[in-house]
Structure formats: structure tokens, C-alpha cells
């Protein structure tokens, strides 16, 4: 391993460990300020995580090994996603493609879904079932949006998204549409408004959170970190599509641009969390179909360009 690769890996590790929690902190503080509350400190997620890892877990008597290991499995899937996607603006250390990413996300979803079923509660099953319904929209949207982006960059490997040399500028709206579709899918995956209220305490209205209801202590810490990582990686991917639209090629500029865009998306999320109300879960398909439509149009335009 050359020194530059080692440097790169070290940088990635720092970014993957620190940035997600920092972003969640910024998001929470900003949302609180927008709602005229004082809110927590920006570094609060770090303290929360430290507190959770110290605590002992409460584990339901009815659960089995699936419940106990699912957080580790799903976090592993997300760590792999973070290793194969160029979410931080530079090439990922391992070559991966959109198919691998989609199925890694599916692995995490299956692990958490089964863990929710393992609790044997009404809420767990409800969450898993609603999450499955949402995934019917999210998965094709992500696949199509990333495919359209891959077609524009002329490379099926995800690193092609971050390799500025092959980007043909002026993608005829393909990339903005794909980015919009991916952003909507990311909103579902990360439980933002109007899909889900991230701070709700009413179990009946929960979707993703209902699956995690039984978790506590160290396992909850893993899941909290995982959701922060998910937010960062998905926003980072959206940022890559937008950067390619803006034809930004210089690695350093891309890196800065990615951080800036991720921050912009976090601010946007905070504003939307404040402005919007949660939709009834049965109304969600009407919203999510837009994501699917955007990605389909992006694909159509990308197909016509060739």
C-alpha cells in the first residue's frame, strides 16, 4: 500500500466517523433554532453515542439471535457502501457499482426487517411491512437514477461518478433529474419529513423507527451511527451528481464542493423538517411516484442522448 492510498484511507476513515455525527448535530441544532428552540449542542450526537455505549441493553425475552446481531449486519452493509461509493468527492478505495450498493442497502433492510419481526410485537411487524412498501418505490428510483448518471458518465462503476475526466458537460437535465430522484429516495431512507417525523414519539405513525423500537444501549448506538452514515453517504451521492452537472473536475474543488453541497442538503432538510407536516403513510406512494417519474425521465433523456 502506497503512502497516498494510506493517507486516503485515513482521511476516509476520519470523514466516515466524524462527519455523519457532526451533520446530524448540525441538522438537529438548526431545526431547533428554526423552531425557535435552543436545541442541543452541535456535538450532542457524539455525547449521545458515548452515553449509549456505556449503558447496558434491555433485551426482550422473546427475541432471538436475529435481533441481537441485526445491527452489526446492517452497519456492516452500510460501511461497505461507504467504502465503494465516491460519496466524499474522491474515488472510493474499492471498486463497486450501483448494483452492489443497491443490494447492500437491501441487506441492511432485510436485517433490520427481520429483527423487527423477531421482536414479536405489533409495532415491529408494522414497521417492517411499511418499510417494505416504501422500498418498492425507493429501490427502482435509486437504481434508475444511478443508471442514468452512469450512462452520462459513460462508466458503470461508481467511481466513474467521481472521475471528472470522462464527464461530458451539459447533460440535458439528466443529472439534475437523477439527483432530485435520488434526493427523494434518500429522504425516505433517512426518514425525513414529509415521509416520516424523525422525532416522533407516537409508535402508530412510525415507519422506519418502529422497527428499531426495541433497541437500546450499544445496539442503539450502532443504529444511530448507521443512520447518520446513511444520511451522509446518500447526500454525498446526490452531491456527486450535481457536481458533475456543474462540471467541476479538480479533485480538491470536488472535495470542497461535496462538503458544501452535503451541508446545503442538510440545511434544506432542516428547513423542510420545519415547514412540512408528515404525510399519512397511505398517501406516501403519491409522493414517491414523483421520484420514480423523475428517474424514469432522467433515464429516457440519457437514452436519447446516445
Amino acid at each position: 500500500m502506497s503512502t497516498s492510498t494510506a493517507m486516503l484511507l485515513a482521511e476516509l476513515a476520519v470523514e466516515a466517523l466524524v462527519l455523519p455525527l457532526l451533520l446530524v448535530g448540525i441538522l438537529r441544532t438548526l431545526r431547533a433554532r428554526l423552531q425557535k428552540r435552543t436545541g442541543p449542542r452541535i456535538l450532542q450526537p457524539f455525547y449521545d453515542l458515548a452515553r449509549l455505549t456505556r449503558k447496558s441493553s434491555s433485551i426482550s425475552l422473546e427475541t432471538g439471535p436475529v435481533f441481537r446481531t441485526a445491527p452489526a449486519i446492517s452497519l456492516t452493509a452500510y460501511l461497505l457502501v461507504a467504502l465503494v461509493t465516491p460519496w466524499w468527492g474522491l474515488c472510493a478505495p474499492i471498486r463497486g457499482d450501483l448494483i452492489l450498493v443497491i443490494f447492500l442497502l437491501a441487506t441492511a433492510r432485510m436485517a433490520i426487517g427481520l429483527a423487527a419481526m423477531d421482536t414479536g410485537t405489533a409495532f415491529g411487524g408494522m414497521g417492517a411491512s411499511r418499510e417494505s412498501m416504501l422500498s418498492i418505490f425507493v429501490e427502482p428510483t435509486m437504481v434508475l437514477a444511478l443508471s442514468a448518471a452512469a450512462l452520462v458518465s459513460g462508466n458503470l462503476w461508481l467511481n466513474g461518478l467521481a472521475k471528472p475526466s470522462v464527464i461530458a458537460g451539459g447533460s440535458a437535465y439528466v443529472l439534475p433529474l437523477a439527483a432530485a430522484a435520488l434526493w427523494l429516495a434518500a429522504a425516505v431512507e433517512t426518514s425525513r419529513m414529509p415521509i416520516e417525523d424523525p422525532v416522533t414519539h407516537l409508535e402508530l405513525t412510525m415507519i422506519h423507527e418502529a422497527q428499531l423500537l426495541e433497541y437500546s444501549g450499544a445496539r442503539l448506538a450502532l443504529l444511530e451511527y448507521q443512520s447518520a452514515l446513511k444520511l451522509t453517504v446518500l447526500y454525498g451521492l446526490v452531491a456527486q451528481l450535481l457536481l458533475n452537472e456543474l462540471v467541476i473536475r479538480e479533485p480538491f474543488e470536488r472535495w470542497v464542493g461535496t462538503l458544501g453541497l452535503i451541508l446545503c442538503l442538510v440545511v434544506a432538510a432542516a428547513i423542510l423538517d420545519t415547514l412540512l407536516v408528515r404525510l399519512h403513510w397511505r398517501k406516501l406512494p403519491d409522493l414517491l411516484i414523483f421520484g420514480l417519474a423523475f428517474s424514469l425521465v432522467a433515464c429516457l433523456l440519457a437514452a436519447l442522448r446516445g
Partner: protein
Amino acid sequence: MALFVILLFVWGLAALMSIVGPLHNRGTRAAVLVAAGACLLFFLAEDAFRNPLVIALPPQYCLVGIRPCLKFDWLSGWFLAVLAFCTIAISLYAPSYMNHLKPAPDMRIYWVGFVVLLAAMCGVLLAADAITFLICWEAMALSSAMLVLTNHQERATRTTGLIYIAATRISTLFLAAAFLWIHGITHSWSFAVWHLTGQIATWPAILLVIGIAIKAGCWPFHLWLPAAHPAAPAPVSALMSGVMVKTAIYAFLRFFIVQRAIQSTDAAYLLLTLGLITAFWGVLFTLLQRDLKRLLAYSTVENIGVITCAIGMSMVAFQFGYAGIGLTLEVAALFGVLSHALFKSTLFLAAGAVDIAADCHNIDKLGGLGRRMPRTFLCTLAAAASFCALPPMAGFATEWMLFHGSLLLALDSHQPALRMGALLLVGWLSLVGALAMATCIRFVGVVFLGRARSLACQKAHECNRSMQAGMALTAVMSVVTGITAAAIIGELLHAINHGGPQVLAVGYSLPMGQFVLLALASAGLLTSWLAYHDRTAGTADVQAWDCGSGGLTARMQATAESFAQPIARLFGNIYRYAIEVEFDGASPRLFPEHITVETHADATMESRVYAPIVRIIDRLGGLIAQLQTGSIHTYLLTMFATLLLLLAVAGYYR
């Protein structure tokens, strides 16, 4: 060839063993011989894979003027290897399973049928001419029908047997018509001579596609699959679903791609369309099934759809001149056959184990079996992961090749329609994949996780060692073939290109080894940290959150029905899904004493399309029955009229 004769001899001996000899352990002896034969078959397959060989049987075995020909090549070898694997697993599993079956089946019929089915499948996979193919195809259909009817004392089983036999008849009808048509053009029964292209190939190709699609269980001919599987014993379902429907996939590949016997763009589009609808339809109905084996049968419909898509797309790619991409998709289909055979046999065998342990195959009455049957659960989990195409399982390699090939087509092609078509295929298949995931969480979650929903479930215990071994073999193989997919696919590409024009195809180029190592390291570290943390920080045993209602019961957890509901609502028009809720009591709105929820769903094809057809046939049958009065005069008159009619037709066409 000598090996093949020995193999048939061993299997014949197995059939004999089940008929004669001491009564106890007849099944075990037959099973051991069948498994030994399957091991031989594996060597035979390996040999065929590397050294292609054509054998014409000696002249004394002439059938209708032609010498039956057997062709051993890589394609046969691949399918024979799949057959061998599944057979070994199933014959390990079968004896103890059959002993548990109530009412006790006739083991003689079962084992003889099993051996004939195996031999017939070998015949189909090896046949090099239409007559041999058709005879073996028939033997396969009839012997499998015999096995489906193992439990023929029950009326429901006899009905499904009838549906299955009818489906095989129609399939053979279409196949025979196609073969006759092609024979009319080429004047040969030998597959090697058939090369039809252009306009002339269209109709025979369509007939062929329909005939094979019925066997494969493609929409709209999928009807027999969900009917036959619940009725058959688990090992038979595993063999039929794991391998027998794959002979249809083999036929698609043999006629349309490998042998290039018939090249027709229409057939390619027809196959692609059938595959797309089949995959979606299959998974949609998997989601609503409550019978464990019926659910698995519908999921087979889905998997067949995905494999058919790969074949159709591969044909399209070949026809547009993208040979490399066509080959990639062809390999996707081939690997799909392997991965599906492995995980679906595992799932069917596990379903049989659950059925025996809990004496129930309605998933709404099961639950919490994971802790009582940990090994069965582990096998099911591995198979389900492969089914959902989770990396690094074999299913993922299939899906990756298919998606990657289609995306490559979208990238390389210059026709916007083709590019868009390839992208739409990927989107559609990811929709199917998301639905498949939902069905998997539902089925594994409801059956194996949560609380036991019945007393029988609470008392369930693990199946015995030989059944575990059968399941474990296929489950472990789905993991192993997934991790070593790159090497296997490389070998496959090498065999395909051997001795022919070299076509450069994309192999399985993900650095899977790296991923597996990283995943193992990460998951291992995290789980051991969690375990260490649990030990040092301690855990508190609590009740799951019940909103303070005073304890949860098994009836409060999500049922299979309620799990499927959000998605069923989305596709309500296809299912004709309806939910009726009734409140009962003195003040039903505020203080309901009883709440009844009823959901209705309908298999649209069965009720809207097939039922009217069956009614019409029934009515026509009634008309014909009027002739059968038992009066010899009517019969003679009918025969005479038929003769006159045939003479007139012959005279007209002369």
C-alpha cells in the same frame, strides 16, 4: 457413455430396491443408491462440461426410423451438475421425510417415479434429436405427475394432479406442433441440422416458446405450479421446482441461443415480455399466499420469470450484434439456474421440515420456529438471502450479471429504443427485487421469528440429522457458489468459448473476495464487541414494549396477512383486494367487543381467464358425451364419418 449406462443401472437398482427386499428401510436403501447415482452423474456432467461428445445409439434402438442421439456438451453438463447436486441433497432428505408422512405413501410408487423422473430429466438434457427429446419430455411429465399424486387418497390432490397433467398435455401439443413444423422445413429431426432464420422461423419459434413456457410455468401458463407444489411431498416439490422446471430453461437456451436452431426476433421479444410479466406476477402473488408451499411455488414463478428475462434480453443482444453482452446475459441465466435450484430446493425442504415439526403449512398459524428449529432456520435464512440476491450469495451473482449486462447494453448501444428498453428492464427487475424482499421478510419473519402462534409450534422440535444434512448441503452450496462465483463464471465462459469463435464477455468482475473478507471482519468485530458489551455492561431481560397494555400475546404480532396489507392495497386492482372490518357489541363504534377483519383477494388469471375457458370446454365435453350412449350404431357412424372427413381432407390437400 459407460458411466451413463452404469448410472442408469444404479438408478434402476434403486427402483428395484424399493420394490423388493425386506420391508423396513426400503426407502433408505433406495435413497443411498439414488445418491450414489447422482455422484456418478456429477462426474459425468463434469466430463461433458469439458469434453463435448455426441453418441448415436446402436441401430437396434431405432425409433420411427431414426437413431436416437445423445449429446454431451457444456450446456448439458451444467444442467446435469445442477441436477446431481439437488438429487444428492433431496435423496439425503427424502427417506426420513417420507416416513413422517401421514397417510403413509406407497414407497414403491414414490421411488420408482422418482428414479424415472431423474432418468427422464437426464434424457431431456442429453437428447440431440426431436424424437428422443419428446419421449423423455413425456416420461418426465408423466413420472412427475405420478409423484404429485403420491397422496392421491385426497380429493384436492387428485384435482391438482389433473390440472398438472392437463398442463403437460398442452405443453406437449405445442412442442409436437413446433417440431413437426420445423421437420417440415428442414426434413430432419436432429437439432444439429436445424437452422431457421427470418420470416419462416417465426411461427415454429412462437409454438416452441409457448410449449416450453408452459413447462417453465411462465405467465399466463403458471397455473399448474402453485397447484401442484402444495400437493406433492416436499422432496418432490424440491426436485420439480429446483430442477424440473429448469429443463424448460434448458430448452430455451438450447433451441434459441446455444444451438441457434431458430433465430427469430419475435420469439426474443415474446420471451422477454413473458419473462417480465411472469416475474412481476409471480412475486405479486407470492406476497399474498398463506400456504407455505404455495408461496414457494409462486416465488418459483417469479424466479423463472427473471431467468426468462435474462434469456430474452440475451437473444435481443445477440440479434443486435452485441455478442459479448449477449453472452454475459446468457451466463446470468445459467448461473440463475444454479442459484435458484440450490436455494429453492433448500426452501422446499425446509418447508417440509416445518410441515412435519408443526404439522401445519398455513403460515398464519406458525411462528417462532427459529428457536425451536435453529438449523432449519439457518438454512432457510441462507436460502432466503440468496433469493433476495443479497451479496455474497449465489442469487446476487445472477442478479449482478443480469443488471450489469443490461446496463452495458444501455451504455454500448446506439439505438435509443434499445437503450431505454435495457434501462426499463433494470428498473422493472429492481421493482420485482424489492417485492421479493418483502415476501422474504414476511415468510421468514412470520414462520421462524416472533412468538409461536399455535401449541404445535411451541412443541415443535428440530428435524432429524439426515433431513438437516439434505438442507444444509444446498444451503451451504448457495453460499459457496456465491463466493466463488467469479471462478465458476470464468470456467463457464471458458467452456462456452471452447472450440468456437472467441466471444469476449464480461465476467463477474466485482472484487467479491475483498468484500467478503471486509464484511466478515466488520460483522465479526461488531458482533463480538456487542457480545463483550453484553457481558461486561450486562443486559436487562424485559418485556417488549406493549404501550402498557399488560403483556403482548402471539395474536398481537403482525400476521402474514397484515404484513402484506400495505403492498396489497397498492396493487389492489390486480388482486381485487378487499378488506371488510366488522365491529360488534353494544356500542360497536366506541366499545367494540368483537372485531372481525376479512380480506379477500383473487387470482385474476384463474377466475377471469381460465375459469371461463374451463367452463366452455366442459360444455363442449358435454356435447361430445352425448355421442357416447353405449350404442354401437352411433360409434360405427362416428367412425365412418371421421373416415370420410379424413379422406376428404387428404384428397383436398393432395
